[in-house]
Amino acid sequence: MSYPEAALSRRTLLKAGGTGLAMAGLASLAACTSAGSGSGSKTLTVAYFGDQKAADAFRKRIEPVVRKLDKSVTVRVNGTSGTDWNVFFAKLLTQIASGSSPDIVSVATEGLQLMASKDLAMPLDDYVKRDIKELKSYFDDVPASLVEAMMFQGHLYELPTDYNAGNMYYNTALLQQAGVAAPTEHWTIDDFHAASTALARNKNTEAYGWVVRLWGSWTSFLYANGGNLLEEGKYPGGSWLWDAAYKGDPSAQGRSGGWKWGDPTANSAEAVEALQYLLEMKRAGLSPSPDVSGGSDLQNLFAAGRVGMAIGGGFWAGGLANAGMKRGSFDVQFFPEWKSQRHLFGASGFAIFQKSDKKDLAWEVVKELSKPSSFDVIFPGNATTPARQSLLTAERYATTGPQNWQVFGKTLTEFPTTAPIPAPPYYNALATALNQRTTQAISSGDVKSALDGLQRDLEAARSSAGS
């Protein structure tokens, strides 16, 4: 009996193949297991928008806060990086789908309705009703407009910890060199244009810099021009909160169960005029071609003295200080008045996941994080604007600036029509379409055609999302 070279029986071949398959199967199972959320453990998992280094620093800051509540709990913070919130949500949802649900997630206005509409975040109504007395100092300190921005269909999903409104920053030295007086509270779009024209005489600077995104882009001009990307409406409900927490507060009158974003209005006359205005700024050499970006490059250019004016929120104070700008070398003012002086803002806080098996502990953590003592622990260095108005003090901005820091709080109180950015449940599709159509308008010069396209994109996105 002879054997051909390297011949094998079918049984051996099957064994070998089976071993390979088993090994691959085990490898994939191991991968799945390691991605588990640690459900049932004494580990509180927080999803955080930032790279892992920032997430680790965040964990170090919040762990003492959590340990005060339960010494046996450890905190794990999973950092997810991205250029903007839409990228963060895309990655977060993929993690959730793979079975890696966190207990708490830091969510800004951009993703609140997305999380709520998908039943990923849980309403805090019952907890708030139960602890309403304990939360009195919180609600007394936080403007109703911020809380309303965290509601969806009558339910409250987050206690806002911070926010950023689209104010106008300016480089004081560049303005002085251009012979332009610092803008006043009630400056107008004409004043802004005159300041830009004067700044543009300096060939080494960009008079007005901006980026393509939803928050603080041409959308700020759109708000001031009386328009929006989506029809504005409000969900009914919410009286359970307003009656209990804001009784007698005039700023809470007319508040509802959250913002309801309706039909797209992206090609309205106001929208076309707003984007056309910025295109004319570019043509006149007052503004460069903007990048699609989260804004960090713009902030760096501003800090380097290359940009005269730019839209920024309270988070710019810390960012500019970190980039080396001294207090007094920059300042901030309200966004200029066009048809109105309405501003936009985005708020942020911590939501609890429906799937969390540590909801009670998570709620205690959320409450703890909303306390004044926690703010600088979790957001050191004026990295954002505190939702608690009692924290907006001269002392806070004594080191970083700006000198006109009162603007941050007054934006909400003195302009009651100021509203959150339009972030419906289909925010990701909206952000993508907005970025694409804005760059199309800038590149082609045909604003109307680009915004007609945006209108179609948003209608399709809304239809797909079933809104």
Binding site: P4, L13, A24, T94, D291, T439, Q440, D457
Partner: protein, 313 residues
């Protein structure tokens, strides 16, 4: 030697001792285990995902709620979706430009390097041209995004020193497409270059000497002799490069976000946006299956056309 063996005309194998037989069995088993493992990985990480994607393309699934069967609805929607159709046109345009430049530049570099007499010079250039391929595409794209930034990029800085106006490398449709092609070719031409260097190095010396004796110049020698002889390598490079280029993602995603407008939005970007950003995994799977079919069709066409110009010696 047995009579039956001779009658069958086959080579007669020497009888092996039991120990030799056992060793050969072990070697054979080891070989099949290796093949089995890689085959299993292909099944788990390539064939099963393709099958799952095909199945998923008939469902509506937002990753959170249970999938809902929708039949061919996703495919019907796809045909009428201007964004998707446009992405195929954009991808095809970019891919053709990338592949042509990869072939031409890769060949030119390979010929030039082959002409160097000193081996260390050839080695140095091979390393230099191959180096970009080792860099992470994402990192290289971020880097290139800064270099070509209209406002603060190095390229426009030097153009300004020469008194030239700023070029909208990434903020005009033409500029963005050209820059994406440029960066993609810069990073991947090393692969084509190495293939061509290897092919040119293995050309039969006697044929080249005969051509030289016949008095053919370098241009004639290249187009009439060398190119036909290495045509199988050119064909292989064109097939592999086209498949890769049709899946272009990193450069447009990072450098232009698909813009301005949708001028650099490739099909893989649309798949990512549809599935992972808009949570329409069924529709995203349908688009990916169409891309898969397009790639198979294009490769098939390349094989058919290759019969006319590829020379297998």
């Amino acid at each position: 030697m047995s009579a039956s063996g001779l009658a069958m005309g086959g080579a007669v194998r020497p009888r092996l001792r039991p120990l030799q037989r056992a060793r050969r069995r072990r070697e054979g088993a080891f070989g099949y285990a290796m093949i089995g493992a890689s085959f299993a990985l292909i099944i788990v990480f390539t064939l099963l995902p393709i099958a799952a994607s095909l199945g998923l393309s008939f469902f509506s699934w937002d990753i959170i709620s249970p999938p809902r069967f929708v039949g061919t609805e996703n495919y019907e929607r796809l045909a009428a979706d201007n964004h998707v159709v446009n992405s195929f046109v954009v991808t095809l345009g970019l891919a053709v430009a990338i592949v042509l430049l990869q072939l031409v530049i890769g060949m030119a570099l390979a010929v030039l390097v082959q002409q160097r007499r000193r081996s260390w010079v050839r080695g140095l250039f091979r390393t230099i041209y191959y180096l970009p391929l080792l860099a992470s595409t994402a990192a290289a794209s971020v880097f290139m995004g800064y270099i070509f930034n209209e406002r603060f990029g190095v390229v426009n800085y030097y153009l300004a020193l020469l008194g030239l106006p700023d070029v909208p490398w990434l903020t005009s449709s033409t500029g963005a497409s050209a820059t994406i092609v440029m960066v993609a070719v810069w990073q991947s031409v090393g692969f084509t270059f190495v293939l061509f260097v290897a092919a040119l190095s293995s050309l039969p010396r006697d044929v080249l000497e005969a051509v030289a004796l016949d008095g053919a110049g370098p241009v004639r020698t290249f187009f009439s002799v060398k190119l036909p002889l290495i045509s199988p390598t050119v064909f292989f490079a064109s097939v592999v490069n086209l498949i890769n280029a049709m899946q272009l993602f990193d450069q447009p995603f990072i450098m232009t976000s698909g813009g301005p407008g949708t001028s650099t939005t490739t099909t893989t970007m649309i798949i990512y946006q549809t599935a992972f950003q808009n949570l329409q995994f069924g529709y995203g799977s349908a688009i990916s299956m169409v891309l898969f079919a397009v790639l198979i069709a294009m490769t098939g066409v390349q094989f058919l056309v290759a019969r006319r110009w590829v020379f297998y010696s």
